[in-house]
Symmetry: C2
Subunit: 356 residues, 2 copies
DNA sequence: CTCTGTGTTGTTAACGTTAACAGACAATGC
DNA sequence: GCATTGTCTGTTAACGTTAACAACACAGAG
């Protein structure tokens, strides 16, 4: 057994000794095997296998002044879309030998700068921010980070650096337009605590703008403080909507989870969706198309956001040129019209009992 | 601007020069400020602030022969429970200054060993495996990793090392017992492709064992190949259940997502849950209690699994003693009985229309 | 038979940090 | 007054790797 301090793991040196070559030859056998003479290569590879040698990437990074990690700052993994973006990032970054270091930031804004500093201590090659907002100190840290920073899931007014996202205001506007086009006039916006959710606020702004443009009442807004964007918030919220604005015929819910909570509560109360109340969500979650009635929503290419961010990152890491054309990407969104927001077609109504 | 190669970031050396002290004094100012004289400490801290110095953890790890990363191998982030476990891990590990390195392994089993080798290249202090199975080569890599390995979400027959999980067979058995106690005799197990899902298989085994013990037919099993554990699989699967075993009065679904798909399809077909067909799931997802009818399921303390794993890991990293008492933890589970599996109480039935 | 490449391997000096020890100096005990 | 202790800071040698360059052998060209 090697008396290495390195948790018993073999090092370049030990492999080199066993194979009877120099350190660099072993290093080359790992990274550029093609430059070695075949006999040497085989000898070294045998030694590597025998000792179960795994190169220490951190030491390699240090020596070569490169970095093989990308840090991802994410508020919560409980949101399907974020998980999909992470998948997209991961699958694309893997192709380039980059690892993902996770920083979930779902706590107080005040620790924000500290978290970012800690993560920068790992010397990541770049940072991907998923749907996150930062304190002014945090922004300062990011600006002096010296590595590419990619903000995703939004198109902020003052981007730090690169951006891959979509317009939340347009999402709000598109859903509102859809409902108005369906003949609705009394539309209530159902959201979470909007002061801590800039994106929700933008969607609300899109709603208000569109309602006003169409000459309708844009002031019908209900928020739920306790739960943030949960199914439960929708359940509580829709009760308030029905209470405060009983003539509401359609409600725009901040996310699909909120919409689901609303829909279930409607069912419990015997309020028919969409006949008594039309509902829309946002995000196109897995369950959304399966609900009865199926949920009208907006679909975001969450995986694509991750892939896009990864590509931009990779390009910016390898080439030093800042190709401005690709610095800001709007991936758009798609309004998916389903049963919850339109007069039901017979084919989608509850079917007859089976086997009769 | 410093001419450092390190992406413009300040190093110990630059801070030392600015403060007029040695490297070690700066290092101490960061890690053990209490040993320095107050005047020195302030001088150094001012220099650190001025240069925006952030220590390079990788270099520190290398020099001190420690590691500040923990690698997490996770099959998919799309499962709520996994995300919660990751949260638990993260929040507990953060207390000890440990970072999480993510390896999502949701691809072919053959790449398995390669992925593990790559992750070990980061020299993690430990490995947490969430709900994962490995090829024999992968197992070999793990065994020679030389760091603590914690398997979670299951209690495997042959653990590699530490374990934090629960018995899937008991889950299957408990749900089956519950349904039998409700008076059901014709129970169908609805699962995914079981050959690639050892845990699903165990739950199935628990089902079969219990059915047989109670003298009931244990052979009613329906699997769906296309989709794995999705809502859609439940939708497709329940159709097969009703088709192949029309006298079924209760169905045990592999997960809550499958159960939801089943429930929605039932609604579409006019099959009443639970009156015509009782349903159970597994996992207690966010939506489960909100469905109408609410879903009977098993609840796992997913966050707690993460916290537990983090504690074991931390103990094993800091003390070299292998405290055997805590090596294998069964966190258990809880059967949550809701409306989908019992004769409905009036209070939970669909309420009267609102405002009338 | 020297010259010039070409293909292959080795040597040295970093990368940014820390552990271990060494030294300087002041305060204390006898 | 002199050794002894304690407090603080500095020096040296690593950690495991890679970039850059040096060195060597051997082939073919002239």
């Amino acid at each position: 057994m090697p008396k290495s301090t390195n948790a018993g793991r073999a090092t370049l040196k030990e492999v080199a000794e066993l194979a009877g070559v120099s350190l660099m030859t072993v290093s080359r056998a790992v990274r550029h095997p093609e430059v070695l003479a075949e006999t040497t290569r085989k000898k070294v590879q045998a030694a590597i296998k025998k000792l179960n040698y795994i190169p220490d990437d951190a030491a390699g990074d240090l020596s070569s002044r490169k970095s093989t990690t990308v840090a991802v700052v994410i508020p919560s993994l409980h949101f399907e879309g974020h998980a999909r973006t992470l998948d997209g990032l991961s699958s694309e970054l893997r192709k380039h030998g980059l690892y993902i270091l996770i920083a979930d930031s779902f706590y107080s804004r005040s620790e924000d700068a500290e978290l970012l500093r800690r993560i920068l201590g790992r010397r990541p090659a770049g940072l991907v921010l998923i749907n996150s907002a930062h304190s002014s100190e945090g922004v300062e840290v990011l600006q002096s980070a010296g590595v590419p920073v990619i903000e995703t899931w939004d198109i902020p007014a003052n981007p730090l650096d690169s951006v891959v996202g979509f317009s939340h205001a347009e999402v709000g506007a598109a859903l509102t337009t859809h409902l108005i086009d369906q003949g609705h006039e009394y539309i209530t916006f159902l959201g979470g605590p909007l002061d801590t959710d800039p994106r929700g606020n933008e969607r609300l702004a899109g709603f208000k703008r569109t309602m006003t443009e169409r000459g309708l009442d844009a002031s019908r807004v209900v928020t739920v403080e306790q739960d943030h964007l949960t199914i439960n918030a929708g359940k509580i919220g829709i009760a308030r909507v029905l209470d405060r604005f009983p003539d509401t015929t359609a409600s725009i819910c901040l996310t699909d989870r909120v919409a689901m909570g609303a829909m279930m509560e409607c069912r419990r109360r015997g309020v028919s969706v969409p006949d008594d109340l039309a509902l829309t969500g946002h995000g196109d979650f897995e369950f959304s198309e399966h609900l009865v009635p199926s949920l009208t929503t907006t679909r975001i290419d969450a995986f694509g956001i991750g892939v896009h961010a990864a590509r931009i990152l990779h390009e910016r890491i390898t080439t030093n040129s800042m190709n401005d054309t690709e610095r800001h990407v709007d991936v758009g969104f798609e309004v998916v019209v389903r049963d919850s927001s339109q007069a039901m077609r017979p084919s989608t109504r509850v079917k007859q009992r089976l086997h009769d």
